[in-house]
Each structure stands twice: as structure tokens, then as C-alpha cells.
């Protein structure tokens, strides 16, 4: 199995699969509530001009994450 890389490093237009969350506590809960659940497909759709935050298409909604939160999401190639 390949080692996961951070969702924050996913280029705009690319898709990936959520592998695991490195966050704990309320950040973890928040990410799960937003749909960042292992084995879910996620696509980076837009990045703000300053490079942060990034909008992700996940489970039928577009969700923006700050880089520090996206860093906590490990993804693997589809």
C-alpha cells in the first residue's frame, strides 16, 4: 500500500481518495461531519488567489478547507 500524501498537496483539477485523518478531537469530528470519511473520493476544484483556502468537491458538495486542515487529511491515488 502506498503511503498517503496530504490533501493540501493535491493540485487543482486532480482527484484522490481519502485514506485517513491525522486530526484529533473537534477538528477530526468537523472533517468527518463535512464528509471527509475514509474511502471517499475528493477533488480539488479551486484554490484562492493567495493559495489558501482550497475548495474541494466531496460527496456532492463543495467544501473549502484551510491548508492546515487539509494537511490533516491523508489521501491516496484513485
Amino acid at each position: 500500500m502506498t503511503a498517503g500524501r496530504s490533501l493540501a498537496d493535491l493540485p487543482v483539477g486532480a482527484a484522490s481518495i481519502v485514506m485517513e485523518l491525522r486530526a484529533v478531537g473537534s477538528t477530526r469530528r468537523r472533517l468527518l461531519d463535512l464528509g471527509f470519511v475514509p474511502d471517499t473520493a475528493v477533488e480539488a476544484v479551486r484554490r484562492s488567489p493567495m493559495g489558501d483556502p482550497t475548495a474541494y468537491q466531496i460527496r456532492g458538495a463543495v467544501i473549502a478547507l484551510r491548508k492546515e486542515d487539509a494537511d490533516a487529511v491523508l489521501v491516496r491515488p484513485i
Partner: protein
């Protein structure tokens, strides 16, 4: 009832029952609210919060129904003022029915909130909104099957055309007046967590908060959510009630701000 800290009443409206609308953002919740209430609406802010809320009413089958529109949230985890308002109202506002508006075009992500609501109250109805959009996308949804699996009524609607609104009112009516007794199937969390929940539930026996599931409370305490304790304290104060977490022997341990109460720690240790 329904006065004080979590107001649901409307001046001059004598309600037979109260229904509350919860749902993810962008599920057409406000459209459902408008379709239900027409022009009979009042807006304002939740006490002490900059979160807007709308209330309205309608008459259906001889009953006057107050509808409270909650802010759109993905969860009831109380991570934001909106979520806190939604959770507190469902818990302490004692609505007779909680209607969860779900987006039929991406149902899966909406079911998280549905299951969270069902942990608090069985008196719920799912409104499967945006059915026309889902059909346009070629999706076929089996509302009856979903109702079976969830154990609560599910009503397909397309609120902007008015489709399904009468059926939704019928279901709200039936659940509010206990003509239908929903039996949601509880989500189970595996042996270790369930043992801890059981132990905590037992020690929560002495805490009286009407209508609040002890199981739900135990789960929140295990999650280390301090806001739920503060919410119960506020509620009890508003009701002028002694007891509860603030007036009981739990007071020292369940002080808001502490990550986990001693009861939760003990329950976790107990299984080791």
C-alpha cells in the same frame, strides 16, 4: 412550554404543536419553510447569538402549527454558533417534531445529520427535498425503503413547485400527535464504546432533563464535548430547576471547560 431561553412561540399565535426544520446548507430548507408557512413568518435572532432564525405558522387538519427554521448545519456537534443553536433547540426547545431536510441529489452526506438527530429524538421526519433535481440527474430514490431502514417517515418533495408539501404536513401532524410512533434503529459503536456508554448512562440516571436521551448525553460526554454540559446548565437555570449536572454531585466534575467528566474517564478506565 416553549417560552424562556429557547423561545419558539409567536405572539398572538396559539399553537397546537411545534415543528422544527433542520438540514444541511443548500438543501432548500428555506424553500420548504416558505412552502409550509406562506407569508406567516417572523424573523429574529437567537438570544445572545448573531444567528438569525425564522419562525412561522400554518394551519393543517384543524391544528395550528409553529415552524422554527434552524440554521443550516452539517452536524449537531456544536462546533459553530449555528450548530450550537440547532442542537440546543432540538434538545431543549422540545419541538414536537424535528423535520430534517435532506438533499435528494446527494443523500449520503445528508444522512449524517439525520442519524445525529435520531440519537436525540425519535420524533422526526425526513423531507427528501430537491427530488426533481435528483430525477433530472437520473437518480432514483426509494423513499419507502429509506423510511424502513431509518425507522421514521420519509417524504419526497420538490418544495419550489409545492410537490409533496401536503404529504409532509400530514406526516408532521401524525408524528406530532403520536399517530405514528417512529422507531429509529440506534447506531451502535462497537463493544468497547457501548460498554462505556452503558456505564455512563447508568450514572446519568439522577440527571433529569426531560426529553433528552441519556444515551446521547453519554456519547457527547465520551466525545469530551463540554458545551453540552453548559447548555444543560443554562436550560436548568432558565427553567428555574435545581439539580441536573450543576446542582448535583456531578457539579465538580462536569464543569464546562473540562475536556471529559470524571464519569466518562471512569467509564473508559473501567473497560481497560
Amino acid at each position: 412550554m416553549i417560552q424562556g431561553y429557547y423561545p419558539a412561540g409567536i405572539k398572538g399565535v396559539d399553537a397546537d404543536y411545534v415543528a422544527v426544520l433542520a438540514g444541511n446548507p443548500n438543501t432548500g430548507k428555506s424553500t420548504v419553510f416558505n412552502a409550509l408557512t406562506g407569508l406567516n413568518q417572523h424573523t429574529g435572532n437567537w438570544p445572545g447569538k448573531t444567528v438569525a432564525h425564522a419562525r412561522g405558522y400554518y394551519r393543517h387538519r384543524g391544528k395550528t402549527v409553529i415552524i422554527v427554521d434552524l440554521p443550516g448545519t452539517y452536524s449537531l456537534s456544536a462546533n459553530s454558533p449555528e450548530e450550537e443553536v440547532a442542537r440546543d433547540f432540538i434538545c431543549f426547545g422540545q419541538p414536537d417534531v424535528t423535520v430534517v431536510i435532506a438533499d435528494a441529489t446527494c443523500l449520503e452526506r445528508n444522512l449524517n445529520l439525520v442519524l445525529q438527530v435520531l440519537e436525540i429524538t425519535p420524533k422526526a421526519v425526513v423531507c427528501l427535498n430537491l427530488m426533481d433535481e435528483a430525477e433530472k440527474k437520473g437518480l432514483r430514490l426509494d423513499a419507502e425503503r429509506l423510511a424502513d431502514e431509518l425507522g421514521i417517515p420519509v417524504v419526497p418533495t420538490a418544495a419550489h413547485t409545492g410537490r409533496g408539501i401536503k404529504q409532509l404536513k400530514d406526516r408532521i401532524h401524525a408524528v406530532a400527535l403520536n399517530e405514528i410512533l417512529p422507531r429509529p434503529k440506534p447506531v451502535t459503536y462497537g463493544k468497547e464504546l457501548e460498554a462505556a456508554v452503558q456505564q455512563l448512562e447508568a450514572s446519568l440516571q439522577s440527571i433529569y432533563v426531560d426529553g433528552i436521551s441519556r444515551r446521547w448525553l453519554a456519547l457527547r460526554l465520551l466525545e469530551g464535548d463540554p458545551s453540552v454540559v453548559e447548555a444543560i446548565r443554562q436550560y436548568n437555570l432558565a427553567e428555574g430547576r435545581q439539580g441536573g449536572p450543576c446542582g448535583s454531585e456531578y457539579s465538580a466534575d462536569y464543569r464546562p471547560g473540562r475536556r471529559t467528566g470524571a464519569g466518562a474517564e471512569k467509564a473508559i478506565r473501567g473497560r481497560a
